[in-house]
Amino acid sequence: MDLSLVWKAALALGALSFLFGALLAIAYLFFKVETDPRLDELLEAVLGSNCGACGYPGCEPACEAVLKGEAGVDVCVAGGQKCADAVAKIMGVEATVSERGVALVHCKGGLSESTPKAIYRGIDSCAAADKIAGGFKACDYGCLGLGTCKDACPVNAIFLDENRCRQVDRERCTGCGLCVEVCPRGLIELVPRDQEALVMCNSADKGAKARKTCSVSCYACKKCEKVCEFDAIEVVNNCARIDYEKCTQCGKCIEACPNDVIVRVKPAKEHGKAPSAVA
C-alpha cells in the first residue's frame, strides 16, 4: 500500500480548494455590487409572485423603483394595505392605500347548465372561441370555460371544475386584476373582499331567451329589486347588479331569486403570502 497517495491527494485537493477559495474572495472584492440592503427587505414585504399588476416587469424592478422614489409605497397593488404598510415601514413613511378586491366571474353556467350552440374544437383559448360566430354557447354573455383567466392567474387562484366552470379560490386571489383584462367577455370583476351576496350572471338577454340559453341565468324578474330594503340591487340591462356600497349582506335577494343566480359566499379573508414563482 502506498501511503504517499494520501498525501498527494490531500495536497492536490487542498491546494485547489485554497486556490479557488482565495480567487473567489479576491473576485468578490473586485466585483462586489453595492445593493441597497432595503431591497431585500422590500422583496420580502411585497407579495413576490411577479404578477406584473403594478406595471413593472416583476417584483424586483418594482422594488427598485420604490427605492428610487419613482413608485409609491403602494406599488404592490395586489398586496393591498398589508404590503403597503410593510413597504412604508421599510421606507419610513406613512401608507394609505385602497383595499383590493377579489376576482368574481359573473357566470355559473358550466357545460351542464348552459345550452350549447356548436361543438368547438379549436385552440384552447376563450378569445379564439369567442371570435368564431360568437362562441359555442347559446348564451352570448357567459363564460366559455376554456380557462384563459386560469392561465393568466399568477397565483393559481382560478381553476376549472369537471363541469368546465371556473371557480375562484377567494382566499388565494390577490386581486391583481390580470384575469379581468384577459376575459374576452368582460365577465370578471373585482368585488370587495367582505361582500357575501354575489350575482352570478352577466346575461343581457331578455327573459325568454335567457331562460332558453341557460338553466342558471338571470331573466330579469326583478324580484330581488323589490325585496331589497336598502335599494342596493337593481336590474340593469336585463341582469341584476348589486351596489356593494349599499349592500348589507342581509340575504333577502338570495332567498327571493327563483333561479339561484344570487348566491352567498364566505367573505374572503386577508390573503396570505403568495407562493413565490418557481425558477
Partner: protein, 206 residues
C-alpha cells in the same frame, strides 16, 4: 489522419453523431425544464457554451499538470472537476452581475443551475480523462482538441435545446389530448427527435 480532418471529426462527432442530449441522454433536466420558450433556451445555451468552455480549459490544465503528475487523477477527478465548475460558475455570476446587469437578469436563474449540470461535468471529464469518450478516435486530447470537442458538445446542446423549444412553443396551441399535455408530450417529442439524430450514426465512420 490529417490535422484539420481530425478536428473536423471531433467537432462533428460531439455536435451531431454523439449528441449529448439526444444520443447519450445526458442533461435531460434542462431539456425538459428550460425549453418552454425559445428566448430562455437561447439564454441557457449561451450560458452552457460559456461555462463549458471555461470548465474544460481549467479541467484540462488541472488534469495534465496536477492530477496526472501526482498520480491521483484516477480517484480524484470528480471532486476536482466539480470544484472547478462550481468556482467558475460562482465567478461568472459575480463577473456578469458587475459588468452587465441586463445580461445577469436574463441569465441569472440559469447560472446556478449550470453548477450541477451533468453535461458540463461530462464534457470536462470526456475531453481530458481517457476512457470516457465513445468517439472512434484515438486520443489523449491536446488542449485545442479538447476545446473543439467541448464547443461541439455545447453547440450540440444548444442546437437541440433550441429546436426543442421551437417545437414546444408550437405545441402550446396544438390540440393535444389532455393527459398528454406538458411533460408527457415533451418526452414523446424528445424520443422522436432522438430517432432523427440516430440517423447520423456511423457517419464518416464515427
Amino acid at each position: 489522419m490529417n490535422e484539420a480532418y481530425r478536428y473536423f471529426l471531433i467537432f462533428l462527432g460531439a455536435l451531431l453523431i454523439y449528441n449529448i442530449l439526444l444520443i447519450r441522454f445526458i442533461a435531460l433536466c434542462p431539456l425538459i425544464g428550460v425549453s418552454t420558450q425559445v428566448e430562455t433556451s437561447i439564454g441557457m445555451a449561451m450560458s452552457v457554451l460559456f461555462v463549458m468552455t471555461m470548465a474544460t480549459t481549467a479541467s484540462w490544465v488541472a488534469w495534465n499538470y496536477i492530477l496526472e503528475p501526482l498520480g491521483v487523477g484516477e480517484f480524484l477527478y470528480i471532486p476536482v472537476f466539480i470544484l472547478i465548475i462550481a468556482s467558475l460558475v460562482q465567478f461568472t455570476e459575480m463577473f456578469i452581475k458587475k459588468v452587465s446587469p441586463p445580461l445577469y437578469r436574463a441569465m441569472g436563474i440559469y447560472l446556478p443551475l449550470i453548477t450541477t449540470n451533468c453535461a458540463v461535468l461530462a464534457a470536462a471529464t470526456e475531453s481530458v480523462k481517457p476512457g470516457f469518450l465513445k468517439l472512434n478516435i484515438p486520443y489523449n486530447f491536446s488542449l485545442p482538441e479538447a476545446l473543439i470537442y467541448t464547443i461541439g458538445v455545447a453547440l450540440g446542446f444548444g442546437l437541440v435545446l433550441i429546436i426543442f423549444a421551437c417545437i414546444r412553443e408550437r405545441l402550446e396551441t396544438s390540440p393535444i389530448p389532455h393527459s398528454f399535455k406538458g411533460a408527457p408530450i415533451a418526452f414523446i417529442i424528445a424520443a422522436l427527435l432522438s430517432l432523427a439524430f440516430m440517423g447520423f450514426a456511423n457517419l464518416l465512420g464515427l
